[in-house]
C-alpha cells in the first residue's frame, strides 16, 4: 500500500503533528519506501495463527483494592503531579480554553 500527500496530512493531523507542505512532500516517499518494504509481510500465510498477545507466556496480575498502598502509584501528591506543568493554576493544569 502507498500513501499520498493528502493521506500523510491526514495521518499527521490524527497524530497531532503540524507539518509544513515541504515536510509533507519529503515524508511521502520516505513513508512509501517503508510501506513498500513492510508489504512483504503479506506474503506470509498466517491462516490459523493467532496474533501474539504475550511475548513471554504470562497472564495479567491483579492488585488489591487499597488506596495509596504504594506511594509511587498512589494519590495525594498534587505538588509532584503539578511540578513540571507549563501552566499550573490554583491546583489545576491550565490549557487554552476549550469550547465543547
Amino acid at each position: 500500500m502507498s500513501v499520498d500527500k493528502q493521506t500523510v496530512a491526514k495521518i499527521a493531523s490524527l497524530a497531532r503533528i503540524n507539518m509544513s507542505d515541504d515536510a509533507l512532500e519529503r515524508m511521502v516517499p520516505e513513508l512509501n519506501n517503508i510501506l513498500a518494504w513492510v508489504d512483504q509481510l503479506g506474503e506470509v500465510d498466517c491462516t490459523g495463527v493467532e496474533p501474539m498477545t504475550a511475548v513471554i507466556p504470562n497472564t495479567l496480575r491483579l492488585r488489591d483494592d487499597v488506596v495509596d498502598a504504594d506511594p509511587l502509584t498512589g494519590g495525594g501528591i498534587r505538588d509532584k503531579v503539578l511540578a513540571n506543568a507549563p501552566a499550573a493554576e490554583h491546583g489545576f493544569f491550565g490549557v487554552p480554553k476549550v469550547i465543547e
Binding site: L14, L62, T73, G75, G76, F93, V95, I99, E100
Partner: protein, 500 residues
C-alpha cells in the same frame, strides 16, 4: 410481544424511534482501575492523582482486582456471557481530559458478552407488557478527567481526580422504542447495579451517565442513521433527549435533509441537543491491544466467588415477595425497587415475625403496608424533627406487635411512632403512659354498648327486623362513646352477641 405504540407524529405520517443506550457506571472501588489513587468524590482538584493517572513518562497500569470482580458480578446479574479470557485495548485520541492520549478500554475482547434485562409492564406509560432488553456487552475502562471552562478568561482548567476511575460501559442492543422504555431500562439497570453493589447509581455525582443513541424510521422500515448524545445524567434527561432528538430527526428528514452520524450534547436548560464540534475529528480511534497489559484470564475460583457473592436480584426478589410472602404485585414492586427499602422491609419483617412468633408470610402484608405507606407518612410529616437513629427495627416491630394484638389502633400506632422518632422512648411505655391504648376490657365496652342500645331502641328494632346495614351505626356510636380507644374487634364481637 406487544410492540410499543410510541410514535412521533410527522407531516408524512408516523415514525418509530429506535433507541440504544451505553451506560457508563462508575465501579464501586476504593482505588482507581490502574492506580492506587482514591476514587472518593469531591476532593480538592488534582489531589487524588497518582503519577500513573497523570501519565508521567514511564508510568504503567496495574489493574485493580475489585474493579474486575464487580464487572463480572454485574455481568452475572444480567445473565450475561462472562469471558474468562479478555483483554484491554487502547482507544487513541487527544483531549485535555485524557492524559495518556488514549483511554484504556476494551473493544475486541470485552470481559462480559451478551446478556439481558427485563423491564416491567407499565401500561399508563405505554409499556403494555414486560419486555426484555438485550445487552450487547459490558466492558471495563478508565474514566477521563474533568475540564472547567468558566474559571479563567482564556484558559480551561484540568482536574484529573476522576482520571483513571473504573467505569463499566454497559451497552444495550437497540431494543428500546420509547422514552418510557429507555427510562424503565435505566431505572432497572440502576437498581441491579445497586443490588449487586457494583455502582452506587448516584446520577447527580455522575456515577451513572448514559450515551443515548437515537434513530427514527417509518414503522417497520429500514434503520435510520443514529446520533449519539453523550453523558446524559438523569433518567428524566434520557427521556427528554430521546423525545427531542427523535423530533429533530423527523423534522430534518421530512424537510429534505439527512441525519448525520455524530456526537451530540444535551443542554437541559434549553431542552435541546446540539452537535459537539470539538470532538468531530476524533473518529479514528486506532484501537489496539494495550501492550502494557497482558491478557486477563479469570480462573474458576475467581468466577465462583463472584457468583456466590451475588445477592438475590430484583426479579427473583419480587417473585418471592408475591409468591412466598403473598404480597400484592404493587407492594412487591415498590419494595424491591430500592436497596434501602427492601433492606428495611426484610429486617423489620424478620423482627416482627419473631416477636409475634408467626411465619413471615403471615405478617408480610402488615409489615409491607407499614414500610411503604404508614412509616414514610409519619417520617415525612415530621421532617427534620425525626431522629433517624431512633427508627430501629425493634421499635417498629414493637409497634406492629401492639397493632397486631389489638392493643393499639392504627391511629394510635402513628402517634406512638411519632413520639418514638422524636424521643427514642420505648413504644410500649409510650402506649401506657400517653394513654395511647385501645380499650379491650369487655366490661367497660359492654357497659357502653348497653347504653348505646338503650338510647336507640328504634334502631335496634329496625336492625333486628333485617336492616343489617345498621350494624355499622352501632359500632360507630360505641367507638365514639369510648373516645376511639376501644378495640374494634372486641366491639364487633360484643355487639353481635348483644344484638342477637
Amino acid at each position: 410481544m406487544t410492540e410499543s405504540t410510541y410514535r412521533i407524529q410527522g407531516e408524512t405520517g408516523e415514525w418509530e424511534v429506535v433507541i440504544g443506550l451505553e451506560v457508563h457506571a462508575q465501579v464501586t472501588s476504593h482505588a482507581k482501575l490502574f492506580s492506587g489513587a482514591s476514587t472518593e468524590f469531591g476532593a480538592e482538584p488534582n489531589s487524588q492523582v497518582s503519577l500513573v493517572d497523570a501519565a508521567m513518562p514511564g508510568m504503567l497500569p496495574v489493574p485493580n482486582r475489585e474493579c474486575i470482580r464487580q464487572a463480572v458480578r454485574t455481568g452475572m446479574a444480567i445473565e450475561a456471557q462472562i469471558n474468562a479470557w479478555s483483554r484491554f485495548d487502547r482507544k487513541n485520541y487527544f483531549y485535555a481530559d485524557l492524559p495518556q492520549g488514549y483511554q484504556i478500554s476494551q473493544l475486541y475482547h470485552p470481559i462480559v458478552g451478551e446478556g439481558q434485562l427485563l423491564i416491567e409492564a407499565d401500561e399508563k406509560n405505554g409499556i403494555p407488557e414486560d419486555k426484555i432488553i438485550g445487552i450487547e456487552r459490558i466492558h471495563v475502562e478508565q474514566d477521563a478527567g474533568k475540564l472547567m471552562h468558566d474559571q479563567h478568561p482564556t484558559m480551561s482548567y484540568v482536574d484529573l481526580n476522576r482520571s483513571g476511575v473504573a467505569l463499566m460501559e454497559i451497552v444495550s442492543k437497540p431494543d428500546m422504542a420509547s422514552p418510557a422504555e429507555a427510562g424503565a431500562y435505566v431505572r432497572k439497570l440502576r437498581s441491579i447495579l445497586r443490588y449487586v453493589g457494583s455502582c452506587d447509581g448516584n446520577m447527580e455525582q455522575g456515577s451513572m451517565r448514559a450515551d443515548v443513541n437515537v434513530s427514527v424510521r417509518k414503522p417497520g422500515g429500514e434503520l435510520g442513521t443514529r446520533t449519539e448524545t453523550k453523558n446524559v445524567n438523569s433518567v428524566r434527561f434520557v427521556m427528554a433527549v430521546i423525545e427531542q432528538e427523535a423530533r429533530r430527526q423527523v423534522e430534518l428528514i421530512e424537510g429534505g435533509g439527512a441525519v448525520v452520524q455524530e456526537t451530540r450534547l444535551y443542554d437541559p436548560d434549553r431542552n435541546e441537543t446540539r452537535s459537539m464540534r470539538s470532538k468531530e475529528d476524533a473518529h479514528d480511534y486506532r484501537y489496539f491491544p494495550d501492550p502494557d497489559l497482558l491478557p486477563l484470564v479469570l480462573d474458576d475460583d475467581f468466577l465462583n466467588e463472584c457468583r456466590a457473592s451475588l445477592p438475590e436480584l430484583p426479579d427473583a426478589k419480587r417473585a418471592r415477595y408475591t409468591g412466598d410472602l403473598g404480597l400484592n404485585a404493587y407492594n412487591a414492586a415498590q419494595l424491591t425497587l430500592e436497596v434501602e427499602v427492601f433492606a428495611r422491609f426484610e429486617t423489620l419483617l424478620a423482627a416482627t415475625a419473631k416477636r409475634l412468633g408467626k411465619a413471615e408470610k403471615d405478617v408480610a402484608t402488615q409489615v409491607a403496608n407499614w414500610t411503604l405507606s404508614v412509616a414514610p407518612g409519619v417520617l415525612n410529616a415530621l421532617g427534620g424533627d425525626a431522629k433517624l437513629e431512633h427508627n430501629t427495627a425493634a421499635a417498629n416491630a414493637s409497634i406492629l406487635q401492639m397493632v397486631d394484638a389489638g392493643t393499639v389502633s392504627g391511629g394510635q400506632a402513628k402517634e406512638i411512632y411519632e413520639i418514638v422518632l422524636k424521643t427514642g422512648r420505648d413504644p410500649e411505655e409510650i402506649a401506657d403512659t400517653e394513654g395511647l391504648k385501645q380499650q379491650s376490657d369487655t366490661g367497660a365496652i359492654e357497659a357502653e354498648i348497653d347504653k348505646v342500645l338503650a338510647d336507640n331502641p328504634d334502631k335496634v328494632a329496625e336492625y333486628r327486623s333485617g336492616k343489617d346495614k345498621l350494624f355499622g351505626f352501632f359500632v360507630g356510636q360505641t367507638m365514639k362513646a369510648m373516645q376511639g380507644k376501644a378495640n374494634p374487634a372486641v366491639v364487633n364481637e360484643l355487639l353481635k352477641v348483644k344484638l342477637g
